[in-house]
C-alpha cells in the first residue's frame, strides 16, 4: 500500500538498502547505501532491520506527501527537514499524518540524506535487494521521479509513536560531515608496484573531488601517479582506488563495475567511503595509511554499537560503552 507520494525527487533520489549480495559473479553491481553509517542510523532510529530500504536523497530538493500515517527517520546531510513547514529536526524520528508535506532544502554541508520508514520502503526487490543501480536499467530500479508512489510494509498504526519521536542520534555518535580528517586507506594489491615517490605524493598530497564523481566512483584531481601498467581484470571491492592511464586516482563506490583492470595502490574501508560519498565535487580530501586489522576493528565497533545499544523511553540511547 502506498505510504508516500514523491512530489519533487530532487537531483538524484534512489531506494537503497545494504546492496545486492551474491550476484557480483553475474556482473550485477552491488549498489547499496553509499554512506553506510548514516543509513544504518536511520534504520536504527526506527528499530528497523539493518537491511531495510531507505531513500538516498542527493543534494536535497525533495518533497513528498504522506498517504497514510507514517513513522519516519532522517539522517545524513542536514537539509533542514520540515513537515507542513515546521522543522522536524535532524538525526531524529518523526511522524506524518495523511496529507502532511515533507520538504528538504539544499544541505549546507554533505550530499546524501537518508529517509527511513518504519519497516522499510517496500519497493521492488530484485535478487534479494531493493537497491537501485540506475545504469543497469533494471525494471523499477532506477532514479525516483516526481509522482512516484512509495509503498510501505505495513499500514498498522505504530504503538507509542511518542517514544520514537523523542529519539535523536547523540551528536558524538553521528558521522562528522564537516571533518577534513584524512580518509583511511589499506594497502592495495599493487601498492609495491608504484614508486616510493608516487606513494609519498599520494599520501602527502591533497586531492580535490572531480566533477565526474558519482555513486560508481569518485574521480580525484591532484598529484598524478605513474601507473605501473594494467593488470589482469579481477573483482574490485568498495573503496578500491584504481589508477588509470592518466594517473588520476579514482575511488570505486557502491555502483562500481564488479571487475576492473587498473592497478590498485590502496583500498578505502566502507565507513570512510561513506565520508567520501558525502563530499561534493570541489571539496578536498587527504589519505592516511591504515591496516586491514585497524579498519576491521573500527567496523566491528560500529556494528557492536548498533547491535547492543537501545533507545530509552525518553529518546536517549543506552549504550554500555559510551555512557
Amino acid at each position: 500500500m502506498t505510504g508516500l507520494r514523491v512530489d519533487h525527487a530532487g537531483p538524484r533520489t534512489t531506494v537503497q538498502d545494504l546492496g545486492r549480495q551474491g550476484y557480483q559473479h553475474q556482473g550485477l553491481s552491488p549498489g547499496g547505501a553509499a554512506d553506510l553509517a548514516s543509513f544504518r542510523w536511520a534504520n536504527h532510529l526506527l528499530d528497523n532491520p539493518a537491511n531495510a530500504a531507505c531513500l538516498e536523497i542527493t543534494f536535497g530538493g525533495f518533497s513528498a506527501v504522506a498517504r497514510q500515517p507514517l513513522l519516519l527517520a532522517i539522517t545524513g546531510a542536514d537539509c533542514g527537514p520540515t513537515v507542513n513547514d515546521q522543522p522536524v529536526g535532524h538525526w531524529r524520528a518523526f511522524t506524518m499524518a495523511p496529507g502532511d508535506c515533507l520538504r528538504l532544502d539544499r544541505p549546507r554541508s554533505g550530499l546524501l540524506t537518508y529517509l527511513a520508514v518504519a519497516g522499510g520502503w517496500h519497493t521492488r526487490a530484485f535478487c534479494g535487494s531493493r537497491s537501485a543501480v540506475a545504469r543497469e536499467g533494471l525494471t523499477d530500479l532506477g532514479l525516483l521521479e516526481g509522482g512516484a508512489e512509495l509503498p510501505v510494509t505495513t499500514s498498522d498504526p505504530v504503538t507509542a509513536p511518542e517514544h520514537y519521536r523523542a529519539r535523536e542520534v547523540p551528536a558524538k555518535l553521528r558521522p562528522d560531515m564537516a571533518t577534513d580528517a584524512p580518509l583511511r586507506v589499506m594497502p592495495g594489491p599493487e601498492r609495491n608496484a608504484f614508486s616510493h615517490t608516487d606513494l609519498a605524493r599520494f599520501i602527502h598530497g591533497r586531492y580535490t573531488i572531480g566533477q565526474q564523481s558519482d555513486r560508481m566512483g569518485y574521480r580525484l584531481d591532484g598529484p598524478a601517479l605513474q601507473s605501473p601498467g594494467g593488470i589482469t581484470s579481477r573483482g574490485v571491492c568498495r573503496g578500491t582506488i584504481q589508477v588509470p592511464g592518466d594517473g588520476k586516482p579514482m575511488v570505486l563506490l557502491n555502483d562500481r563495475q564488479t571487475i576492473g583492470g587498473y592497478p590498485v595502490p590502496g583500498i578505502v574501508p566502507a565507513l570512510d567511503c561513506g565520508r567520501l560519498a558525502q563530499k561534493r565535487p570541489g571539496e578536498r580530501i587527504e589519505f592516511q595509511w591504515a591496516d586491514v586489522a585497524d579498519c576491521q576493528s573500527g567496523r566491528m565497533l560500529f556494528e557492536r554499537l548498533l547491535a547492543t545499544s537501545q533507545w530509552r523511553h525518553d529518546g536517549t540511547l543506552h549504550c554500555r560503552w559510551t555512557d
Binding site: 559473479h25 556482473g27 594489491p189 581484470s233 571491492c237 573503496g239 571487475i259 586491514v292
Partner: protein, 239 residues
C-alpha cells in the same frame, strides 16, 4: 593432494580477500578456479557474501560483522587439503551463439579486417573457428569476457569509447571477445550482432565462468528469426 597451484591469499579490505593464482592468463586455470570456488562456498558457507572469479584470481567477499580476516584466511588456507587430486574436466557448458557479421551492425568489421590485412570473410572465419572460454563476468550484468581470440584478428580497444553500443553487439578487444548484453557505453571493436539474450531479469546471466562458447555465422534472415534486432548501428553524434 593439491589440485593445481595454491593461490597467494591476501586480505585486501575489511570485507574482501583476494586469491591470486599467478599473473598470466592460462586456459588451464579455469578448471582450478572453478574447483576453488566450489570449495570456498562449502568452507565459508554463511560467512560468504559474494565470490567473483576472474582470469587468474578469485575475490572473496564476507560479512565483516561475523568474521575477521584471520578467520577467513585460516579457512581458505585449509582448502587445499580438501581438494580432489585431479580437478574434473571444466564442468562448464558448451554454448553456441549465432552472430550476424555485417558492417551495418558491426561498424568496425571492415576497418578491423583491413587493419589485420584480411578480408571480412576471413575475419568471420577466424572468429567462428575459435573455441572461447568465459574467464570472467563483469562490466555490466551478464557481460562475459571470453578468450582467447586468434592473434590474427586481435585489435585493441577504440581510443575513444562509444557512448552507446546496442545490445547484442559482438566486440573484440585485444585477444578478448564479448557480446554486450544490454545497451551501454563501450570501447570494443564491433564486428556483428548476436540475437541471443545474455541477461534477463528472469534467468539472469546466460554465461558462467568456465563455460565454453563458439560463434556461428548466420545471415540477416536467420538473425531476425532468432529474435535479433537488425536496426543498423548509428554512431551517436555526441560520441
Amino acid at each position: 593432494m593439491v589440485a593445481g597451484p595454491v593461490p597467494a591469499i591476501q586480505a585486501i579490505s575489511e570485507d574482501a580477500v583476494l586469491l591470486s593464482f599467478g599473473d598470466t592468463i592460462d586456459p588451464a586455470l579455469t578448471a582450478v578456479i572453478r574447483v576453488w570456488c566450489d570449495a570456498i562456498r562449502t568452507s565459508l558457507d554463511e560467512l560468504l557474501t559474494d565470490l567473483v572469479p576472474s582470469y587468474t584470481t578469485i575475490t572473496v567477499y564476507y560479512d565483516p560483522g561475523r568474521a575477521d580476516f584471520r578467520r577467513i584466511t585460516h579457512r581458505l588456507r585449509s582448502i587445499p587439503d580438501t581438494l580432489p587430486a585431479e580437478p574434473e574436466a571444466t564442468g562448464g557448458r558448451d554454448i553456441e551463439l549465432p552472430v550476424w557479421y555485417h558492417p551495418s551492425v558491426g561498424p568496425d568489421l571492415e576497418a578491423l579486417a583491413s587493419a589485420c590485412e584480411l578480408t571480412v570473410d576471413q575475419v568471420i572465419e577466424r572468429h567462428t573457428a575459435g573455441t572461447y572460454q568465459v574467464y570472467a563476468l563483469g562490466f555490466s550484468p551478464g557481460f562475459g569476457f571470453m578468450g582467447l581470440v586468434d592473434p590474427a584478428i586481435a585489435q585493441p580497444r577504440l581510443a575513444r569509447p562509444r557512448v552507446k553500443v546496442p545490445a547484442g553487439s559482438v566486440g573484440i578487444a585485444n585477444r578478448q571477445t564479448a557480446v554486450y548484453p544490454s545497451s551501454s557505453p563501450g570501447g570494443w571493436r564491433l564486428i556483428g550482432r548476436c540475437p541471443t539474450r545474455l541477461f534477463s531479469e528472469e534467468d539472469l546471466a546466460l554465461l558462467t565462468v568456465g563455460d565454453t562458447v563458439r560463434f556461428r555465422a548466420v545471415d540477416q534472415e536467420t538473425f531476425r528469426s532468432l529474435g535479433g534486432d537488425d536496426t543498423p548501428f548509428q554512431e551517436d553524434s555526441a560520441s
